[in-house]
Symmetry: C3
Subunit: 201 residues, 3 copies
């Protein structure tokens, strides 16, 4: 249940509340970048469910080697990588004004048709972290093969807060201060929560 | 044949001329949205050829379960859904200044290589409705599987008229008035046309 | 090895240095365009490795009908077409301020998982031509089928230099003059290079 106060909680505080620690952003294997900013849009590279030092997602095709639920968990891991890449590029997730688009590619066994259930793993985490601003346009398709035989690849596009003008920067600071206040109040109020269960990512 | 007057006809009037009634915008099954606006770009979610209360497209793969022509018709249905989503988000299609991009995913049987013929069903409808402004950059690929075993999924990106400044809004109003005048003249001139044949959507 | 002076060399001069002649931009087979500009973004249509008057890439699926290296070469050809389309739309590649995104679709045999190695053919050429500004966000996936049974399709998105205001245009001119000076110095210094080997494209 999302309360009005929740909407004011900063994304990184949301992650802390849920016990989620962002991984190291994945290193590109080629002459490309984890994320590129153009104007107010941050284009993040397609991310796979592979996180150094964490148990990987099973490999293969959803509907044959993985269940939809395992695919959902893998899509969630992809978004953790996308958030890590965005944070590295921007300095902090609080620079994000909204999630714009998600394209989810599901390596699909013949006849598997529940790609949306799999990509909900990406969408749900984004909404967990950004609230209403986490909702996005979405494309879900079933592809033949994915790099390294992973079951899911997710591309996330973010909108970032404008800071071209002094006025914008000032407005951002005011907003950030308001948010920090709200955050402190929330922190004081909220009861402690259990640790983040890795298997449920 | 497109005349100069046609170019001035508003998109929604074009739909009426062709007897096309936009469907209810499809409801997302997940924590995402039918369309998201960022700046002057409207990102519409991937749309499938399923319209409530209308005969659905056949399911399966093009080149095995559907002909290219049936795929073409399905791609057209996808765009109707995209237009419905855009209209819901913007209030009216007249806010669209141009179509920017179409990505067409065709569920393809082994060896099927005519994805462009299928996605022409999307492109042709957009040009029917928006004229020259309906032409777009395009990507057509053949995927393994699609949600609910539909044969085609289409993602459309629109550019919308800027309205950040009073000057822009004023210019829009002047243009709209000009367009309405042109429209009235066109309506007066044009002969009545037959009803829109559903099967040909 | 990239020197500081190299970074100042204009993209079209870089192509000349490498003996690369851009092909005729491919003609769309349908009611779409090779490239569409919206704001500062240039969206180029998905390009295939087919260039009039040049030996085509082998057809089929990478991992069965083509090796990864042949796929790499095909991805490079796709980017040549994308550059040709961008040049036609913009008048010259020097209007490009950076490469924003590459989406690479690899027609993949069952079990083929080296899509990134194939799409490196696209990424490497972009970095060859644009230097650091050629690095981009990237998505690589393995699809079932592609138009005309080509092995690779590549979609490139560019950022173009803003020229909405007089100040921007002036700044561009200053920069162009600086670049031309640097170019002349480079031309004088560099030793002649061998002709561009077609097979290595």
């Amino acid at each position: 249940m999302q309360t009005e106060v929740d909407l004011l909680v900063l994304p990184e505080e949301k992650l802390r509340q849920k016990g989620i620690v962002l991984p190291e952003p994945p290193k590109p294997i080629g002459t490309y970048l984890p994320a590129v900013r153009s104007g107010n849009i941050l284009f993040v590279s397609g991310m796979i469910p592979k996180i150094a030092g964490q148990p990987s997602s099973p490999k293969g095709k959803v509907g044959r080697d993985l269940t939809s639920q395992e695919g959902y968990d893998a899509a969630r891991l992809c978004v953790l990588n996308a958030l890590a890449a965005a944070k590295m590029e921007l300095g902090g997730l609080d620079r994000i004004s909204r999630v714009v688009k998600v394209v989810g590619y599901v390596a699909s066994a013949e006849g598997f048709a529940d790609q949306p259930l799999v990509i909900n793993g990406a969408s749900d985490l984004l909404v967990d972290v950004f609230g209403e601003k986490g909702k996005h346009a979405r494309v879900s398709v079933g592809v033949a093969e994915l790099p390294g035989n992973v079951p899911v690849e997710v591309e996330v596009t973010f909108e970032i807060k404008g800071s071209e003008t002094g006025a914008d920067i000032e407005a951002d600071h005011v907003q950030e201060n308001l948010l920090k206040e709200a955050e402190q109040k929330t922190s004081a109020r909220r009861r402690s929560r259990g640790p983040y269960r890795k298997a449920a990512v």
